[in-house]
């Protein structure tokens, strides 16, 4: 068999396996409930409603259109956090897939990230309705901007997820640290507050946080329909660095997973 064909078959099989793993996660989550897949829409809707009530009605934040501002940051964040939390335990929770069968292990954390990505995609129409009913504008350019952003966030989240999943096999505490780290990162990222609220003395610290650029790019698309190329470039740089690191770490660490688990 020639080499290209063989690689082609392997890539196809990798994608099929990924599809089945994500489908499994979705089925397990929704199938046995009464509302079924409707939950994928009902969940983000309830989520949006809760935040609207909490910040708009109870806390009465004085920023114009604050609820949309908040949600455009929250939904990408929720995708990011949930996928990292799930992915970091993905090898440890699938011991038999790591030890008893021979598959490309990188598919397991990718499955977690894609699973949460699907949920995020279900949240997008909810978000659009929310923007529409609170008097915002729905931009036609979203049709290409949003898929682009989804890909960008995927290429930032997956390398990190892979690194954490490998690290968690070597030191089991990683999955707990991830949880704590993410809740700290939530407040170090302008999600509930705008960038302009950060005091000037601390602003340089925030520039080190790649999520500032990510959340910023989502917002400029949702609120203005614009792509902010400066922020996007930061995201791409970060994605490239993380990818490089993850390849080095995965190559070095993955072969030992079978005996460490």
């Amino acid at each position: 068999m020639n080499r290209e064909l063989k690689i082609g078959i392997n890539v196809k099989h990798f994608l099929e396996l990924l599809y089945l793993l994500v489908q499994k996660d979705l089925k397990v989550r929704y199938k046995s409930s009464v509302l079924g897949y409707l939950w994928a829409l009902a969940n983000p809707f309830a989520f949006a409603l809760v935040y609207y009530v909490a910040f708009k009605i109870i806390m009465r934040v004085q920023m114009p259109n604050y609820s949309v501002f908040l949600l455009t940051g929250m939904f990408p964040w929720v995708w990011f956090t949930n996928s990292l939390i799930q992915a970091s335990a993905s090898f440890k929770n699938n011991v038999s897939l790591v030890k008893k069968v021979n598959l490309v292990r990188a598919v397991l954390p990718l499955g977690s990230v894609i699973h949460e990505m699907v949920h995020f995609c279900f949240a997008l129409p909810v978000l659009c309705c929310f923007i529409f009913f609170t008097g915002g504008i729905l931009h036609l350019s979203w049709l290409w901007q949003l898929p682009l952003m989804v890909m960008l966030q995927l290429s930032m989240a997956y390398p990190l997820a892979l690194i954490l999943a490998v690290a968690n096999v070597y030191v089991h505490d990683v999955e707990y640290i991830v949880g704590i780290g993410l809740s700290l990162l939530f407040f170090l990222t302008p999600i509930v507050y705008p960038v302009s609220m950060i005091p000037d003395t601390y602003r340089h610290i925030f520039e080190w946080n790649p999520l500032v650029a990510l959340v910023g790019s989502w917002r400029s698309i949702f609120l203005e329909g614009n792509i902010d190329f400066k922020l996007i470039n930061q995201c791409i740089t970060m994605a490239l660095i993380m990818s490089f690191l993850s390849i080095v770490i995965y190559r070095g660490g993955a072969c030992k997973l079978g005996e460490l688990l």
Partner: protein, 254 residues
């Protein structure tokens, strides 16, 4: 004759097992000097298995049999030596690795088949045969958490049996389901051999090994005790077993 499995001078050592952050910081760990701890899990293993034959691996618990299978499968790397597998490999180290209890039997066939390396088209083409072989008929669309363990094993075995592979690695799963299904599995494995398939079997079932295998290896504390034709290996192993029953320390010390 070409060999399907080739194992040249393979050594395997298990490194330090991972610890929590506490042990890493405090740096204390218990010295492990039980009979299961040794420097090399496997030392200098050499063998080749011809296409269309079956190879049996025997030995005490903790002697390196499963380690050897994992090395052949490729889930752990050897420290020294080379392992060459010619053809597609499937493992029966655990029947139904990756089954999810909340999914139906049919859905699990797809998931497990893909995990074993089948393409979606291959699974679809073989679906009826897999279901037929498992004899689960009406239960196939029930969630497998409602299955008995025998039914789950049957589903797992049927899926593997219809995966197009050249080499099958089996770890103690010859006893699947009731006697009728066991017979079917035995027949399947014979047919698999006849089709030039290669089997590597770890088992404590001496009778089954004598019947199925052509050659074999007996391991003791990571060493090769004896290898060659299966009848030699089994008789030697039985001799060692009776000896160790009398003086367990002697064998295990080394």
């Amino acid at each position: 004759m070409s060999s399907a499995v080739q194992c040249d001078g393979v050594w395997k050592r298990y490194g330090r097992q991972p610890r929590g952050i506490k042990e890493l910081l405090v740096g204390r760990h218990k010295a492990d000097d039980s009979r299961y701890s040794r420097e090399w899990a496997l030392r200098d293993i050499n063998f080749a298995v011809e296409r269309g034959s079956a190879f049996g691996i025997v030995g005490h618990n903790g002697t390196g049999k499963s380690t050897l299978l994992s090395l052949l499968l490729g889930t752990i790397p050897p420290d020294r030596g080379n392992i060459r597998m010619h053809g597609r490999v499937a493992s029966m180290l655990e029947l139904g690795a990756g089954f999810h209890p909340e999914l139906t039997g049919r859905e699990n066939i797809f998931l497990y088949g893909s995990i074993l390396g089948m393409s979606l088209t291959e699974i679809r083409n073989n679906l009826d045969k897999i279901i037929g072989f498992s004899e689960l008929d009406g239960a196939i669309d029930n969630q497998i958490r409602t299955y008995s363990s025998g039914m789950i094993a049957r589903l797992g075995f049927s899926t593997i049996a219809h995966t197009p592979v050249d080499i099958l690695l089996i770890d103690e799963v010859l006893a699947v389901g009731d006697s009728h299904f066991q017979e079917k599995c035995g027949q399947y494995l014979q047919d698999f051999k006849a089709r030039q398939g290669t089997l590597v079997i770890v088992s404590h079932d001496m009778e089954a090994l004598a019947e199925m295998c052509d050659s074999g290896i007996c391991l003791n504390m990571g060493h090769v005790l004896v290898q060659g034709s299966i009848s030699n290996v089994l008789s030697e192993y039985e001799a060692v077993m009776t000896m160790s029953r009398r003086e367990p320390k002697q064998i295990c010390k080394e």
